[in-house]
Every structure is written in structure tokens, then in C-alpha cells.
């Protein structure tokens, strides 16, 4: 048994696992409500077309078909709500026109899924095809408008010096950067790079089942959601109900990665159908459906320029890009580039001009996918630094170190006016180089190159912003509260010591594999001394949990965790009063250790939590005037986001004849502040790396010129398998944040944010002797081979 301690920084086996390894975990599609019906959707085969007719007669007559709905039936509910309603909102069912392949046109409700699918096949839709706008640069040109009622396909523009909307004024960096370019001693490099569209592919497809009870006037909804409270708010608002009349439960959720950080039309429509039909209605997407009806991620094209001196001082960095929103705006669609903007200058103190235009196209919606804007921003920056280093003939690690914010500069106000909490970037890089024995790796590479082998080393460092976040961000325009709850980015935790001395912890997060039940139990155990095995953590239920905004943006531990920590302090304060009463000691002499409170200096004489609780729930036995009960709730609203960072290294070899890339080693040093459970932290990094490497190597949502997705199944959209990846070599530094009392920053997205450019930098490094300066992701063998041919032509 490796289980030893549950103290902060300790490793314990996960509380989640016994159910999950024995097949007893309950995901949405594992639940069955009595009498439930099954929904399936007719989806558009065209990217842009007018709907001239929908013939449902044959389908409606089929045995087992209960109802068929089209836009006419649901128009009164309005469009699908988005927290940031900039751009074009999505109709619940296509209303006269379809704007991407896969858009839902009609919903069938039937007794079984097979019958529902049979009925879908029997519905005839006549379309008048229109010319779709598929390419995002074409969209940006505005030659053809995607939506007649929008002035431009560019629905928003983000600029790093001008995003506060007047809350803070920042100087325009362009004149300074232009002057630097004119200097005699400056060097300028420029790259145009694609950051391709991705499909999130949580292994659990989305699933939702809703039941309307007309007597209680309440919806009961089970959904595979990362944001149960937001879903309750959005459904309440849509149906004219208070948010507390919608009971949302997110049970086990099989991976999210941002794909389940959205409210979807199907979630609204099953509620509608249940209300209409008086029976529960379920929808579970298929994998191919998921590819076109659940959000996609990334999808940027940008040109970057870096100017600096030959001794490695960066004098300026510019990025001008276009980001593909897809046809419709959903939850955070238009603010994804903003997350990148915040880290546009990364871990460097450099003048930065950064502008991204958000364009609509006739493709499925993009939104948050693991990292959400930050992987894109860091990809562009860190690729460009490598190009600059190569141009001036300096080691890329030296250039980075020369331009980092130094450890004594924190809090460091970056180019966007936000203050980076804490950091020690050079320390992480030095540890990476030490662990890798960088000098030896360089020699190994040179020896390989001398034999004609194409071996390359890729380096990247990164900073991210997470743990959202300061509520002042809600001042920057938009509504932020369209889901019926303010997205002021606070978190909550409730800690209850039960009469038997066990503890129940209820939190407002919506985890999908992050191990919250374990991590939160460790926090409570550490603070109160209650046995880890006697602590049970609940989440994801909107009637049970305190207000929470869900799990995304690597925010749960830093915000909801901190709230739980604060709730523990309240419980301790009360327990100390009771303990002092029982021990006839002064309150200030009470300390907390394993098992419960004791008088300072006599840790052997603890009072059991059941004894404390016994007094708390029978207040006449306690100090005079004591309020009964032993539980506390805290809401934590941090004064700043947190800023984790790290440095990654990849060693690769390219097969010159085929372009096939082999990953020889992958090393990462990550700093997420204090680590509550290092095992879980490492696991988050592993998974993030796999997704970043997956983007670098394989993954791409490919559309043909008609807007048809060519990679809609796992056959054509290859996510990494075990055989495609190496074992990862991880190290860490620990630079706690001062933003929250536990000093934790967040780790969910770090691996993804640091890795894609590390891989591409490695491959470009391998190909540099052949004259290659740029290869776009994904590094499919053909693309790598083609880059070699082009360089040698």
C-alpha cells in the first residue's frame, strides 16, 4: 500500500477510483428515468442553405415515434443563450437557414434510440444551397457575409493594448516597435502560422436527460456538464423559471476539456420535449454527431514578427491574427482570444502589439478547448522566439532567459495591464536544462546530424493565466450573466462536521476526472484532522452545492479549493471555542492536529470531532450563547488570477524519406505553486501533454471547400494512442501564489499550453540543416516531407 498521508503535498489513492475501476461509476447515460423517451436530430448535410421544406409525415407515422419538432415549435423560447452574446446566437433548431454541416434542423422523440434514428432517416428536408464561407481568411475579407443581419463577418477584434473598454488605458506599443525595427543593429523575423481547428473528443459523448414535473413546476436534469449551475441558470431563464426551479445534476462526467463548458441546444430541447410530452426525454450524442454539434477548439491563423538585437534582447513582438468562431456564438466563443491576449507577451518583459479578429464562418462553433486561447498565444510567441534565436545564432534557451521577467520583479504588470502574481521562470528553465543534461543532448544531436540523421531539440517555456478570477473582469463589457448567474468568477465550499464526527464537504465545481473528491478531502483533513476516510465530498448538484460556476480554466483548486479552506477556518474557529469549553482552556491555546483539537503542547489529548459535534448539535452543553451546528460555508473571490509557468523540452527524430516524426524524449518542468496531491498534479500534466502533442502531431478538423467535415469520426480524427506517445519525464519547481491562502495556482491546462510549440520547435530544429524554417501543425508525415521538399527546391 503506497497510501501514506493525506496532508497537503501528500499522495493518497483517489476516493473516486473504487467505483470507476469496478464499473460502478454512474455517468448520465448509465442512469435511467422511468418512462424516458429518446431524442435524435435531423442534421444539415450542407454548410449553408435555405430550408425550403421539412416533410415529417412518414416519420411521424412510424410506430414508436412520439413527437417531431422543428423551429416553428420552439421559436418562442428564443435563441440559445451565450454568456458573451457577441456575434450571432444559435437558434435552438435551424430557423429557415442552416449555417454549418451538422446544425440541428428537427428533433425526433421516440420510444427507442433505434426508432428515433429510423425516423430521422425518414424525414425529408429540401434545401436551397447557398455558397458557404468556409475559409476564415475569406470570411475576414467580407466578400460574402455569413449572416445577413451582421454588418461584417468580423464580429469582434481584440487588441492587447486596448481591451479594457476604458477601465484601464494602456499605451499603443506600435510606435516603439516600429522604431526598434528601424535601428541599425536590429534583426526582424516574421512567420505566418496556422493553429488548426481541433475536436475535443472527451471519450464520454455528451448526454442529457430531463424530466419536467408539472406539480412541482420543476425540471430535473442530468447532464454531462462542467457547469451545472450555469446550465440551471440558462434553463431557468429560457423557460421563465427561477434558477432554483431547475435541478441540474452532473454525475460522473467522462472528460470535458471545455467541450462540456457550454449550454447546448439539445439540453434546452429535451427539457422542452419533456414539458410537452410529460415524460423524461434523453439525448446522447454519437461520436460523429459530437464532431459537428459539440464545440470545436482553436482555429487561428496569424502572422508574427519579432524584432531584437543580435545579442538576444527582444525589442518588440507583433501578432496579427484571425480566429474562427464558426457560424454561431455560444458560451465563451468570442472571449477565447481574450484568454490568449492576457498571455500575449508570455513570460517576457517585451513591448507587444497583439491583435486578433474574430470571424464567423459556415462551420461549427468554436469555444474553450483545454487551454482556450492560451495555447494559441504561447504557440505563436514561442515559435517566433525560436525563429529569432535561429536568425541571430543564439541558443533558444539563452534568448528566453535573457528576456524573462526576473524573479525579483513580481508582481509584474504585463503588457495587458494585469499583474502576474509570482514567478521564477529562469529557475524552471535551469532545472529543465539540468535534468535534460542539455549540453549532452546538444552533442547527441550534433553527432546524429553528422551521420545525416535529422534529430532536433525543441524548447518552450510558458506562462498561463488561470484560477479565474478577479471579479473586476466582469466590468469589461458584455453581460457575463446571460446564463442567469454572474460570472464574477468566485468559488464556494461548504464544510459540515456531522454528529458522528465525519465530514461532508459540498463544493460548487463540476469536475470531469480531476479528482476533486480526493483533493478536497485532503484539504479538509489537513485543516481539521478528520480522518481522510471519514470525509465525503459532493459536487455537481445544483440543489445541494453552494453557488459555483463549474470546472474550467484550471480554476477549481485555486478558487473553490480556497473557499473550502476558508470554510475550514470558520469550522475551526467554532470548534476551538467548544474545545476550550470542554478542556477548560483558553480558545487561543487550542490547536488542531490529527484526530481533532487539543491544547497546545499536549497533542496526545485530542478531543474527538464526534465529541465537538455532540456539543455543537446540543448547544445547551456548550458555552453560553453558542449557535447550534458545526458547519460553515465560504465564498472566495480572488483578487487576481494565478499564473502558473514552466519549461518543456522535446527530442525528436525525423525520417527524411517519409517525414515520419518519432518522439524520443519529452521532458517538462511545471510550476503550479503548492501541490495538494502531486500524483493528481502529474496526471493532469500527462493528459495535457498528450493533448498538446496530439495537436502538434495528428489532430485537425479538416473541412472541404463546401464546408463538409472530412474528419468526423475517430478513423479520420486520430487522437493519440498509447503507442504514439513516450513516457513523460516530469520535474517541478514550487513558487506559491499569494492570491489564495493555499498558494495553489492550477494545473489542468499547463501541459497543453506548453507542449504543441515544443514539438514543432523540435521538428523545425531537426529540419533546420535542410533549410526548413516553418512547418504547420499537425506534423503529419506528408507535411514534414513536403517542408523538406520545399526547402530543398
Amino acid at each position: 500500500m503506497t497510501t501514506t498521508t493525506s496532508a497537503l503535498g501528500g499522495v493518497v489513492r483517489r476516493k473516486e477510483d473504487p467505483a470507476l475501476i469496478q464499473g460502478h461509476g454512474v455517468y448520465v447515460d448509465d442512469l435511467k428515468l422511468s418512462g424516458e423517451l429518446q431524442a435524435a436530430f435531423v442534421r444539415s448535410p450542407l454548410a449553408r442553405a435555405d430550408i425550403s421544406s421539412i416533410d415529417t409525415a412518414e416519420a411521424a407515422a412510424m410506430d414508436g415515434v412520439v413527437a417531431i419538432y422543428t423551429a416553428d415549435d420552439v421559436r418562442h423560447l428564443g435563441d440559445l443563450l451565450a454568456q458573451v452574446p457577441v456575434g450571432k446566437l444559435r437558434p435552438l433548431l435551424a430557423d429557415g437557414r442552416v449555417n454549418h454541416v451538422g446544425e440541428a434542423v428537427a428533433m425526433v422523440v421516440a420510444e427507442t434510440r433505434a426508432i428515433a434514428q429510423d425516423a430521422v432517416d425518414a424525414i425529408l428536408v429540401d434545401y436551397e444551397p447557398l455558397t458557404p464561407v468556409v475559409d476564415m481568411m475569406e470570411a475576414a475579407s467580407d466578400r460574402t457575409k455569413v449572416h445577413d443581419d451582421l454588418d461584417s463577418n468580423i464580429v469582434f477584434s481584440w487588441a492587447a493594448h486596448d481591451w479594457w473598454g476604458g477601465v484601464i488605458d494602456l499605451p499603443d506599443p506600435r510606435p516603439g516597435i516600429e522604431a526598434a525595427k528601424q535601428r541599425d543593429d536590429s534583426v526582424v523575423v516574421s512567420l505566418e502560422m496556422k493553429n488548426q481547428r481541433l475536436i475535443p473528443v472527451a471519450i464520454e459523448p455528451r448526454s442529457v436527460v430531463a424530466s419536467w414535473n408539472p406539480g412541482y413546476a420543476r425540471f430535473e436534469v442530468y447532464s454531462s456538464s462542467q457547469i451545472p449551475h450555469a446550465l440551471a441558470g440558462a434553463l431557468g431563464k429560457t423557460f421563465g423559471l427561477a434558477s432554483n426551479a431547475v435541478h441540474v445534476v452532473a454525475p460522473e462526467v467522462g472528460g470535458g476539456f471545455g467541450a462540456k463548458l457550454n449550454v447546448y441546444c439539445d439540453e434546452v430541447l429535451v427539457c422542452f420535449a419533456s414539458q410537452q410530452l410529460g415524460r423524461p426525454v434523453r439525448f446522447t450524442e454519437t461520436r460523429r454527431e459530437s464532431a459537428v454539434s459539440t464545440i470545436q477548439g482553436r482555429g487561428w491563423v496569424a502572422t508574427t514578427t519579432m524584432v531584437g538585437t543580435r545579442d538576444g534582447e527582444i525589442l518588440g513582438y507583433e501578432l496579427e491574427g484571425v480566429a474562427d468562431m464558426g457560424a454561431y456564438t455560444q458560451n465563451f466563443t468570442v472571449v477565447i482570444p481574450l484568454l490568449g491576449l492576457w498571455v500575449s507577451a508570455g513570460q517576457y518583459d517585451i513591448p507587444t502589439y497583439w491583435k486578433v479578429d474574430c470571424v464567423v464562418t459556415n462551420k461549427p462553433t468554436t469555444d474553450a478547448y483545454r487551454g482556450a486561447g492560451r495555447p494559441e498565444a504561447l504557440y505563436y510567441l514561442e515559435r517566433t522566439i525560436d525563429a529569432f534565436a535561429r536568425e541571430i545564432g543564439m541558443d533558444p534557451t539563452e534568448v528566453r532567459k535573457k528576456n524573462y521577467w526576473q524573479s525579483d520583479q513580481f508582481p509584474a504588470t504585463n503588457n495587458t495591464g494585469l499583474a502576474i502574481d509570482t514567478g521564477d521562470y529562469a529557475k524552471a528553465m535551469d532545472l529543465l536544462l539540468d535534468q535534460a543534461d542539455y549540453a549532452a543532448l546538444l552533442e547527441e544531436k550534433q553527432a546524429a546530424q553528422a551521420e545525416g540523421r535529422l534529430v532536433g531539440i525543441g524548447i518552450s517555456s510558458y506562462v498561463e493565466i488561470c484560477g479565474f478570477g478577479p471579479s473586476v473582469l466582469s466590468e469589461i463589457g458584455f453581460g457575463w450573466n446571460n446564463y442567469g448567474l454572474p460570472s464574477s468568477f468566485s468559488g464556494s465550499g461548504l464544510v459540515r462536521v456531522n454528529p458522528d464526527g465525519s465530514a461532508t464537504v459540498v463544493i460548487g465545481t463540476g469536475p470531469s476526472g480531476q479528482g476533486h473528491e480526493t483533493t478536497w478531502a485532503q484539504v479538509v483533513h489537513d485543516q481539521l484532522g478528520i480522518d481522510y476516510d471519514r470525509i465525503m465530498v459532493h459536487h455537481g448538484d445544483t440543489t445541494e452545492s453552494p453557488m459555483g460556476i463549474g470546472t474550467f480554466g484550471s480554476r477549481s483548486a485555486a478558487v473553490d479549493g480556497a473557499a473550502t479552506y476558508e470554510a475550514c477556518q470558520k469550522v475551526k474557529a467554532k470548534a476551538a471555542v467548544i474545545a476550550a469549553h470542554l478542556l477548560e482552556a483558553a480558545v487561543e491555546d487550542i490547536a488542531f492536529g490529527p484526530g481533532g483539537p487539543h491544547v497546545v503542547g499536549t497533542p496526545g489529548h485530542v478531543i474527538g470531532w464526534h465529541e465537538i459535534a455532540d456539543v455543537a448539535y446540543r448547544p445547551h452543553t456548550g458555552p453560553d450563547g453558542m449557535e447550534a451546528g458545526l458547519e460553515a460555508h465560504a465564498v472566495f473571490s480572488p483578487g487576481n488570477a494565478t499564473w502558473p509557468f514552466g519549461a518543456h523540452l522535446a527530442l525528436v527524430e525525423v525520417d527524411r524519406d517519409t517525414g515520419d516524426v518519432e518522439i524520443l524524449r519529452y521532458m517538462a518542468v511545471d510550476d503550479c505553486g503548492n501541490r495538494i496531491n502531486p500524483m493528481i498534479v502529474d496526471g493532469q500534466i500527462h493528459g495535457g501533454l498528450a493533448q498538446g502533442i496530439g495537436q502538434a502531431m495528428f489532430e485537425e478538423a479538416v473541412y472541404d471547400e463546401t464546408g463538409n467535415l472530412l474528419t468526423g469520426s475517430l478513423v479520420d480524427y486520430p487522437i493519440p494512442t498509447a503507442g504514439d506517445l513516450p513516457s513523460f519525464e516530469l520535474e517541478h519547481t514550487t513558487t506559491p501564489t499569494d492570491v489564495n491562502p493555499m498558494g495553489v495556482k492550477g494545473i489542468g491546462e499547463a501541459g497543453t499550453i506548453g507542449s504543441a510549440q515544443t514539438m514543432v520547435n523540435a521538428v523545425v530544429d531537426a529540419l533546420a540543416p535542410l533549410g526548413v524554417t516553418n512547418v504547420d501543425m499537425p506534423l503529419r508525415p506528408q507535411k514534414v516531407w513536403q517542408a523538406i521538399q520545399d526547402a530543398q527546391a
Binding site: V11, Q22, G23, V26, D30, A114, H686, A690
Partner: protein, 166 residues
């Protein structure tokens, strides 16, 4: 059509349409929801069960094809309340996060170790190529299977990568 089979040691039977997949028979008729559905192309492996001892993707088999077969699902892998070494390995070495791919992954790994209880890292990685995981990057899944392999050989598993505080 009527089908009968042994599932987790118990004789079961039921009426199904020919088009009913084994995974749906298990999940919907037998209420064994530990076996998951993650795709339709047969690539993800979340539905892996043992048919007559052979790890098989149960979404790639019609229920009628399994008539008369001996099927083991994740719910039947532990015996007499004792976890299978692969289950234990996944728990001890953090081989799962969201847990959705886990039943299929464990069933495949158990089959792999049945054939070879001392696989190399490369053999493990290629041995689970038919099972997709989006959470773990497979790193700790490999460690979990190495743990289980050692247990099945009667050896002490390799130490975990993280420090163990006493």
C-alpha cells in the same frame, strides 16, 4: 430473437432485435452499465469485454453473435470482492482520471497480461492501442499495468514515481 449467454458467471437470456449490439444488450437489458460506449467506428475501445476470455469490443459484435458465449464485463472482473490486479494497479498508480475509458482499458489490459505477464513498455503501449484515453496521456496507465504484471508474477511492483511520505 432470443439469446442466451453467461454474463459474469450468471446465465442470462432475453429477446433482442438482430440489430441489437452486444454492448446495448449488456447496458440496457442486463443493466451492466460499466461497459461504456465512446464511439461508433470501433476505435475507442471503451466497450471492451471478454467473450470466451478474449478481449472484444462489444459495440462491434451483435448480441445474437454472442448467443451461447461466456461474457465477462468489468463488473465481473473482481472475484469474491478482491480486485483484479489490473484494477488494483489502476487505483495504486493513478491509471484513470474521468474513468470513462477505464473499464474497457482494464478489460484489455487484463487480457494482455493473461497472455504475457511480463510485457515490455512497448508491448504494453501497443497492446492497448485499441483503447483511447483522453485524460491520462497513458503514462500512468502503463505504470498501472506494469504494477499489475508484477503482482501477477508474484513480485513487488516498481515503486511509484511520486515520493511516498511515511
Amino acid at each position: 430473437m432470443d439469446v442466451s449467454m453467461t454474463v459474469n458467471g450468471k446465465a442470462v437470456s432475453g429477446g433482442v432485435e438482430p440489430r441489437t449490439l452486444l454492448v446495448h444488450f449488456l447496458r440496457e437489458d442486463q443493466l451492466l452499465t460499466g461497459t461504456h460506449v465512446g464511439c461508433e467506428s470501433g476505435y475507442c475501445g471503451a466497450c471492451t469485454v471478454h467473450i470466451d476470455g478474449v478481449p472484444t469490443k462489444s459495440c462491434m459484435v451483435l448480441a445474437v453473435q454472442a448467443d451461447g458465449a461466456d461474457v465477462t464485463t468489468i463488473e465481473g472482473l473482481a472475484s469474491n470482492g478482491d480486485l483484479h490486479p489490473v484494477q488494483e494497479g489502476f487505483w495504486e498508480r493513478h491509471g484513470l482520471q474521468c474513468g470513462y475509458c477505464t473499464p474497457g482499458m482494464i478489460m484489455q489490459a487484463a487480457g494482455l497480461l493473461e497472455e504475457n505477464d511480463n510485457p515490455s513498455e512497448d508491448e504494453i503501449r501497443h497492446g492497448i492501442e485499441g483503447n483511447l484515453c483522453r485524460c491520462t496521456g497513458y503514462h500512468n496507465i502503463v505504470k498501472s499495468i506494469e504494477y499489475a504484471a508484477a503482482k501477477m508474477r508474484g513480485e513487488t511492483p516498481p515503486a511509484p514515481e511520486w515520493e511516498v511520505a511515511e
